[in-house]
């Protein structure tokens, strides 16, 4: 787990079954977002299908969600996959409020995602 100094968010990247899995932990808020955003965009820029695991995220605010939107948009223009797994109810509430639950491809786990496709 990589801890970024002075940031409320940490992350871990695994390479599983052709996907980069980014596991965030902590809070993706105004202070954590700049780091989380960099991590997300770097994964997509490395030309890999990316899945964001939010299970250990205790709080995500709109700035965090905006970074997910950026990642999704970048993946789409590069014809890559970009998905979310393990989204808690709190995160789903935030996504629903901005009508984004219909936009992202959201699954309970990586396995479920693989089965779905």
């Amino acid at each position: 787990m990589q801890k970024i100094s002075d940031s409320p968010v940490s992350f871990e990247i695994d390479d599983e079954q052709g996907y980069l899995i980014v596991r965030f932990a902590g809070e993706i808020d105004l202070y954590g977002t700049p780091h989380a955003r960099e991590v997300i965009l770097n994964c997509v820029k490395s030309d890999r299908n990316t899945v964001i695991d939010l299970s250990a995220v205790t709080y995500i605010d709109s700035s965090g969600v905006a970074s997910l939107v950026e990642g999704y948009q970048l993946a789409k223009t590069n014809q890559l996959e970009f998905g979310l797994i393990n989204t808690s109810e709190a995160v789903m509430n935030v996504l629903q409020l901005a009508h984004l639950d219909k936009v992202f491809s959201i699954h309970a786990s990586l396995n479920e995602r693989l089965q779905a496709s």
Binding site: P34, V65, H99
Partner: protein, 272 residues
């Protein structure tokens, strides 16, 4: 950094204690005591001159109270210094009666202003956040218009988008339904409820609109001439046998009690 942003608790988000305020030498609020729990929607109602807008302005830290305390998220705003107040304001969103959008800026610039002033986020992130909030209030695609080009209901919704752009823990509304037709007012009420559900925001609404009050309130504070008549749930307020409250609910003209001596002094200009 607080970790339990979204867990409803009994802990009070807002605590007003013994608040007394004056305008010049006139006393406007008498010993106001009220608490709003985290995630609760508290509606403050009362007739004109009841002091409800004044109470809101003091909760926003726009004036200095004569005595008493106002705690927002555990911090007493009558005591904290300017820097601490600035920090606290990042957790507060306000939707003013007329929207108070800045007329010289586009709708999008209005919504993003708090982000530009208070954060170091990437410009791209800021723009996406602004558009997201406009989409929350069903104004997606309107970011390049000027406020003057919007209808009254749209201005109120854009103002709401600006108020929630920093994901505030406390949200304040001054007369949200004033000047709106019943449909637009109901839409705004739905939005208030949706935001509370999604973000567990603590919300204070000042209004004289009964329909709106009964739709959104968890609890109601009834003010009259600077005093709290009662604080209770919608049911409790509806069933109250207090005459003043009943007349307020039935929209009756206020019965004015006249003290003959006081009245004569008032008319002849001899202040007591």
């Amino acid at each position: 950094m607080m970790s339990n942003h979204h867990t409803p608790t009994d802990q009070a988000a807002i605590e007003v204690e013994n608040l007394v305020t004056h305008y010049g030498s006139t006393r406007i609020l008498n010993n106001i005591d009220m608490q709003v729990s985290t995630g609760e929607i508290m509606v403050i109602m009362g007739g004109s001159g009841s002091g409800k807008s004044t109470l809101l302005r003091y909760m926003l830290g726009l004036h200095e109270a004569t005595s008493g305390s106002i705690k927002l998220l555990g911090q007493d705003i009558t005591e904290i210094n300017a820097e601490e107040m600035d920090e606290l304001r990042k957790n507060m969103g306000v939707s003013f009666q007329g929207g108070a959008l800045f007329n010289s800026m586009t709708v999008g610039e209005n919504v993003c202003l708090p982000l530009r002033e208070h954060t170091h986020l990437d410009e791209n992130t800021i723009q996406i956040m602004g558009r997201m909030k406009l989409s929350v209030v069903n104004l997606g695609g309107f970011e390049d218009l000027m406020p003057a080009q919007l209808s009254g209901g749209m201005i109120k919704r854009a103002a709401l988008a600006r108020a929630i752009v920093m994901d505030p823990k406390l949200l304040f509304f001054d007369e949200p339904s004033a000047g709106l037709d019943p449909v637009a007012a109901a839409e705004l009420d739905d939005l208030i409820l949706r935001i509370r559900k999604a973000l567990n925001t603590t919300i204070v609404v000042v209004t004289h609109d009964l329909d709106s009050t009964f739709r959104i309130a968890d609890r109601i504070t009834v003010l009259d001439k600077g005093d709290i008549l009662m604080i209770g749930t919608v049911e409790e307020v509806r069933n109250s046998d207090n005459e003043r409250i009943q007349s307020l609910l039935n929209r009756e003209a206020r019965h004015i009690e006249i003290d003959a001596d006081e009245y004569i002094k008032e008319l002849t200009g001899q202040k007591s």
